[in-house]
Each structure stands twice: as structure tokens, then as C-alpha cells.
Amino acid sequence: MASPPLRPRRRFRQPSVIPGFGLTLGYTLTCLSLIVLLPLAALVVRASGLGLSGIWEVATDPRVASALRVSFGISALAALTASLFGFLVAWVLTRYDFPGRRLVDAVVDLPFALPTAVAGIALASLYAPNGLVGEQLAKLGIQAAYTPVGIYIAMVFIGLPFAVRTVQPLIVEIDKEIEEASATLGAGRFHTLTRVVLPPLIPAVLTGFALAFARGVGEYGSIIFIAGNLPYVSEIAPLLIVIKLSEFDYGGACAIATIMLGISFVTLLAINLIQAWSRRRFGYV
């Protein structure tokens, strides 16, 4: 009689009494493939048809290069702003009690809920030279709408909730005893904040920055109305994809999309590395 092998075979899945694994996983994979993976594969196929040299050629076209610079450069600035103020907002919302706190907390998610086109026309009319804010800025000699400044404002708007919501849960988790310990050991409040409270929050702030940055780079609806879309000055990369498509230049559109996707994946990878590092360093994400 042959005895069963001693070492258990590495299984694809662990046994369970719960039914429906095959059915649900099959359905999940089918939907995922049809809706997400196949269309994305079409982009990869198309882009690989261009070859690296073809993509490089598009990327170094002056108009494309300038649009990529505008998208990535301004998005980085906007994400930085969103991270700074996002941290402040998250801190105020979790640490201080004041009337209307819950309302303020709800307002933070507005850019998630408000359709981008609506935000776009609202920002454009506010910051236009005859708009409510634009008029004041014009007196200071700043033209916001239809310039890169407008793009920056729109990107701060859509990036802010990412910055707040990634940091907020971690501020809630901070153990106040550590702060008390720091205070009893003679540290001033400023010292406690910069040496004890803030360092463990850095990974979350970086993650929020990366998310806001990625969102800003890809954003379209809230930017095109306020940007003015002047080639070489205030034209963003997603708009250039739309323009290439309307000219039936599929290759050019694919090349720009591939570059943007490539940089987004690097950003995502960076987030994962930050979180892995954070898990090692602080024991949580």
C-alpha cells in the first residue's frame, strides 16, 4: 500500500468549507480581464508597435515635452502644497475640538464628490480676471486663470483630500502617552512635535504626496477650463492625448499615454516602497 506523501503539496488555495470559490474567482477574473486588462493590453500592444525609439521621438517633440513638463512639474508643486495644508487640516481635525468640526471634516471630501467638470468651470469663473478671486489677484499683478497658476490651483483642489485622508487616521492612532512621556522628560511642545510626533507620520505624508501627485498628473476635467490650454505654456499632457486622438494620431496618443502610465507606475512603486520601509521602521503603514 502506497503511503501518502509526507510533505504536503503546495496548494493553489487552502482548503475551506465555504463554497463558491471557483464561481466567484472565475467571475472576478472574467470581469477584470474584459473591463481592465484587455483594454490596457491594447495600449501596451499599440505602444510596443511604436517601439522605444518611436515613443522617445514623441516624448522629445517640443510640444509634448513641454506638456509633460507642465503636467509633472506643476503637479509636484501642487502636491507639495496639498501635503502641507493637508497635514495642517488633518491635525486640526483630529487634535482640536471646535464648533463645526464635523462639517469641516465632510467638506474635505468635496473634490472627491464634485464632478471634475463642475469644479473646472467654477474655478475658471472664480479666478478669471473678472472673477471674485481673480479680480483681487489682478490687483496684485497676478493672473491666475489661463496661465500655469490656474493649473496649480486646480491641482491643489483635487489633490487635497488625498493628502488629508492618508495622514488623518495615523494622527488618530498616535499614542498620547508617548507625548506625555516626552513632556515629563522635559521636552517642550515644539520639541515633542518635531522629534516624537512628526517622524512616524512622514511615510503617510509621503504616501499622500504621491497620491496627490499621481492624481494631478492624470487630471483633466478640473484643469482644462482654467488652464487656457496654450501650447508650450499651459497645455497639460492629458489634453494633448485628447488633441492627438481628435487628429486620429493614435500612435502619438498612445506614446504620451504610455509615458504617463510609466511614470504613474513608478509613483505607485514608490508608495509601496515607502510603506514597506515604514512597516520595517515603525511597525505599521
Binding site: 493553489f12 473591463i35 487630471e219 489634453l239 504617463m260
Partner: protein, 292 residues
């Protein structure tokens, strides 16, 4: 800041874990002014501009065949995309949360993928598949099926951008709830479907509602992806956000903001319900982490 805090012989014992009153007030003020300027002011502008020429001008924006068509198309799109993603989200989280199998993290990452793709690129990939120069474009033309610049393309692009909403909310929630309750139901003789309906579904209902709410808001408000596949044919392939864009570009600001106010109202209702759910059912919506 340090002077205030190092001033140790203060009366209130709580003062060692918070900032001085002046600093606190200042920070609160800065945060509120910033949010008011950057978030609330644009929202208020929508309504101010919509009513700039009074009620009649506002209402006139809706007494128009194109506006009706846009509203209808937006409702149809959401009515297909949201249930599709609801079913997908529940099924996917059942597979992922209730079983242990290899490659699970990869699967979760792939489901999340649409969130990290630019809306414009989301539209582009469907043009590459179904467009006249696309992978199966020639076949579609031969069989007289139109997807791009037609309603099916708009629905597909909307499904794509809202794909992760329900799944990513439910997966951690169901993972945290574990399988013990379902196992108990099954031991007591319930069928798998029965266990799902009477045990799992009640456990996830608030999380489900929460995610459907957000999914719907995005489905009705999506602009970039839909704009690429729609072709902007008035009365036929215009959703509400696209209608807003067309009116705005025609300098018909009152009508544009009037239609936009409809979407802004939807956003406000979504935010209100979302906050209500977070407040009442915090523990039942999400796996631990956010608790406010």
C-alpha cells in the same frame, strides 16, 4: 510655540499633549480659511452663477431637449455601471476575503488599477479596442455595431473608472470579519447562498451602501474618460458633465452653471449621506483605520 509649552507650571494637566490656546486658534483659523477659499468658494460659485439671472433663466436651462437627453443618458449610464460594479465588488470580495489562495495581492492590485490610470487614458484604451482603427474596430464596422461615439462606449468607460469602488471597500471589511460566522451557518445546514444572504450581506450592508454611494457619484460625474469616447453628439452621446462643458464653451454661462448645480447638488447629497453613514455606522463601513 516652545515658550508656551515649556511654561510648565500651567494649571490644566491636558496642556502637555496639545498646543497653547493661541497657536491652536491660529492653526484652526488657517485650516478653515484655506478650506473655505479652495473648496467651499468654488462650490458656492456654482450656485451663485447658476442663479445670476434669476429663477426663470435657471429653469430655462432644463426646458431644453438636449438637457433632457443628457439627464437621461447620465441616469442610464449610472443605472448600468453601478449595479455591474456592485455585483462585481461583492463577488470579488467573496473570492478574495473568504479564501486563501496564491496571487491574492496581485489580484487586489489589478482591481485597483483603474484608480491610478488618468481618466483620459481610460477613454483612450477603449478607443484602441473598439474605435475604427482599433483592435476589433474593423470587425465591428462590418457587423454595424457602434461602441465608440455611442452609448455602449460611455457605459464601458464609466464601468472602468468606477471599477474598484465597491471591491476595495468590501475586501478589507470582509477580511476583518473573517469566515467564522459563515462556517457556523454552513455547519447548521445553510446552503452557501443562504449563508451569504442571511449572514454575510447583513454584515456588509452599510459598507456596501457607502461604496455604492461613492461609485454612483463618480459614475454620474465622470468627465475625462467619457469625453474621449463620447464624440460629443448633442442629444445622443452627451452626459450631464459633457453638457456642462458644451454650454460653457458656448459662453452660455447661466445654463452651464445651472446644469452644473444639478451635479453639485448630487455631490452635496452624496457627501451628506456619506458623513451620516460614517457617523452612525463607523465600525460597519470600513475595516479599522478610519474612525471618525
Amino acid at each position: 510655540m516652545s515658550e508656551i509649552a515649556t511654561d510648565l507650571p500651567r494649571q490644566q494637566p491636558a496642556s502637555v499633549v496639545t498646543e497653547g490656546g493661541l497657536v491652536r486658534g491660529l492653526l484652526i483659523a488657517v485650516a478653515i480659511v484655506f478650506l473655505a477659499l479652495f473648496l467651499v468658494l468654488p462650490l458656492a460659485t456654482v450656485f451663485v452663477q447658476a442663479f445670476a439671472k434669476g429663477w426663470d433663466a435657471y429653469l430655462a436651462a432644463f426646458h431644453e431637449a438636449d438637457a433632457h437627453a443628457a439627464i437621461r443618458l447620465t441616469l442610464i449610464t449610472a443605472a448600468i455601471a453601478v449595479p455591474f460594479n456592485l455585483v462585481f465588488g461583492v463577488v470579488a470580495s467573496w473570492a478574495i476575503a473568504k479564501f486563501e489562495f496564491r496571487g491574492k495581492n496581485l489580484l487586489i492590485t489589478l482591481i485597483d488599477l483603474p484608480f491610478s490610470v488618468s481618466p483620459v487614458v481610460s477613454g483612450l484604451i477603449y478607443v484602441l479596442v473598439f474605435g475604427s482603427q482599433g483592435l476589433i474596430g474593423p470587425w465591428l464596422i462590418e457587423h454595424d455595431i457602434q461602441i465608440i461615439f455611442a452609448v455602449p462606449g460611455i457605459v464601458l468607460a464609466t464601468i472602468f473608472v468606477t471599477f474598484p469602488f465597491v471591491a476595495r471597500q468590501l475586501i478589507p471589511l470582509m477580511q476583518e470579519q473573517g469566515t467564522a460566522e459563515e462556517e457556523a451557518a454552513l455547519t447548521l445546514g445553510a446552503s452557501g447562498w443562504h449563508a451569504f444572504r442571511t449572514v454575510t450581506l447583513p454584515n456588509i450592508r452599510w459598507g456596501l451602501l457607502y461604496s455604492v454611494l461613492l461609485c454612483n457619484a463618480r459614475a454620474m460625474g465622470e468627465f475625462g474618460a467619457v469625453s474621449v469616447v463620447s464624440g460629443h453628439i448633442r442629444g445622443l452621446t452627451n452626459t450631464l458633465p459633457l453638457h456642462v462643458e458644451i454650454l460653457y464653451n458656448e459662453y452660455n454661462f447661466v445654463a452651464s452653471f445651472a446644469v452644473a448645480s444639478l451635479l453639485a447638488g448630487l455631490a452635496l447629497v452624496t457627501l451628506g449621506l456619506k458623513s451620516l453613514l460614517e457617523w452612525r455606522y463607523a465600525g460597519d463601513i470600513a475595516a479599522s483605520g478610519r474612525r471618525h
